[in-house]
Amino acid sequence: MSEGVTLVLGGLGIKGEASIGTLQSLRQHKVKIKKIVATGISSLVGAQFALGRDLDLVTDRLVRFFAEHERYLWGLEELGGLLWSRRRRAAGSFSYFLRERLFCRANLKRLNILPWDLVEGDLEESFGSIAACQLKVPLAVSAIDLTRGKETLLEEEELVERLKAGIAFPGLFPPVRIGEKELVSSSLYCELPLGSLTEADRPIVVIDIPSALSAQRPRSLIEVIAHVDELRGAAIKQKFLSKADRVFCLEVVKGFWWGSYRQTPQLVSRAREEMDKLLGLVS
């Protein structure tokens, strides 16, 4: 344990922000981390942590980002244009939301709901000038390489490109091209990026930010397909968890949904409290 642990961070959609609270708690408890493996928004948070930045400021920045861009994110929280019953379904399932948004005559030609322009400026500002050697903890971002059809860990690539691949949720943002690779986020493949980890990464500590499976009975075609997608994701997560040496499950954030960006501060503080409690139990 002297080298530290490989920390695995996941969480679907906005729920990745819970990693802020988690990392604050780990920092306070002086847990030694040899490598961070993350995907989705957790990869952004992980990068900020790896640079030694103040995570309270990261929370403020995210809150500000979502407030500034709210009008572009109309689909993420307001779910405008959807019937009430579908809105409830979309709130519960990221997969359903993406399919519902992309599944209509006009949109079936679209590759993505949001453009990269929305986030590129902020990413450049935060990470554009950062060289890999400036990271105090190595950061591996998990993504799906569409050209090979495999989950892959990005460890050497330029940080901004790595992070873009981490948040390129299929259907939400366009895929990211890095050299020969065409990449999307692995979040929808598995909430926890454990697939590519090996024995050399042990001890592996996983922070599970669970999603509640949609409790509603699937009725329409898209609901059925999205539900199947979720079931498969849950099964894969269950399989991959056997690789972990230690799992900290943040059950208290289960109730937050994937798109609740207005609840960022609450999500972060609940995650931190829970992580403090779990680490307290361990020590």
């Binding site: 399919r99 992309l102 005559r105 949109n107 993505n112 329409s220 199947v228």
Partner: protein, 280 residues
């Protein structure tokens, strides 16, 4: 030692299972129990019922020539090659998707399964047989081994989105391939001590044109990962690749049967060695 045969799904590729069973029986490999998902459940159920591969082939041919069970998976067809059909399907599905749970009904499937299984029950099969489906409400795989064969197999063949889920005993059942493409683990639960798993090789569709394709691509990768998990539970696995074969059209069944037979014949020496090592 009880030898079990676990048959995977794959639409019309499922006919390859007939060739597999034929080759195994010719070589004298005993089959003490069978299970399957989707097309594997159809062929497995038919073989388990008749325990006679020639009769199974005759029945399959009769069904194919009587009922049109072909289906189109619209997302697999390119805009260039089938513009009219694809656009028509897309429009029709968009209009109906809010109301319907699937593109097609079970009408033709039920006719085909009725011809194959009649009113026979799982308890009537000469070889113990179970079909595997997935319950959408609990996310569990469900082993079906009681009741009418037609009901159990229908649930196992309900491809999500293409066919409606089947309600049974408070469950909402869909194709076993969702979580267990080749249900080797489930066959072990049924008492198989040596599991031969037959996987119908089908590559994940890697081209995409829109966000919906991308989501399906990632979903396909999940299916592949879960299949590998199941295959790891088998003692011996055979993968039947049938190049350029369309899984949604059932009229080329002879090609699939021949390929299944050929690949299994090729794999037999290894299988016999493995069985010998296991003192079978």
């Amino acid at each position: 030692m009880r030898i079990g045969l676990s048959l995977g799904g794959g639409g019309a590729r499922g006919f390859a299972h007939i060739g597999v069973i034929k080759a195994l029986r010719e070589a004298g490999v005993p089959i003490d129990l069978v299970n399957g998902s989707s097309a594997g459940a159809v062929v497995g159920g038919a073989y388990a019922l008749y325990a006679d591969i020639e009769r199974t082939i005759a029945k399959a041919e009769e069904v194919v020539h009587t009922v049109d069970v072909s289906y189109f998976n619209m997302f697999r067809y390119s805009m260039e090659s089938r513009p009219f059909l694809r656009n028509w399907l897309v429009s029709a599905i968009c209009d109906l998707s809010a109301l319907r749970s699937s593109i097609l009904s079970h009408k033709n499937n039920l006719r085909a399964l009725e011809m194959l299984f009649g009113q026979y029950e799982f308890s009537d099969t000469q070889v113990p047989f179970s079909s595997v489906a997935v319950d959408l409400l609990t996310g569990e795989t469900v082993i079906i081994k009681e009741g009418k064969l037609i009901d159990g197999v229908l649930a196992s063949t309900s491809i999500p989105g293409i066919f409606p889920p089947v309600e049974r005993d408070g469950r909402l059942l869909v194709d076993g391939c969702v979580l267990a493409d080749v249900p080797a683990r489930e066959l072990r639960q049924e008492g198989a001590e040596f599991v031969i798993a037959i996987r119908l090789g089908a590559e994940v569709e890697t081209s995409y044109r829109n966000g919906f394709d991308l989501l399906n691509y990632v979903d396909g990768l999940k299916g592949r990962e879960l299949t590998q998990w199941e295959l790891d539970q088998a003692d011996f696995q055979i993968t039947i690749d049938i190049p350029d074969f369309d899984s949604s059209r059932f009229d080329n069944y002879e090609i699939a049967i021949a390929q299944g037979y050929k690949v299994t014949k090729y794999a037999l020496p290894d299988l016999e060695r493995k069985l010998g090592d296991s003192n079978v």
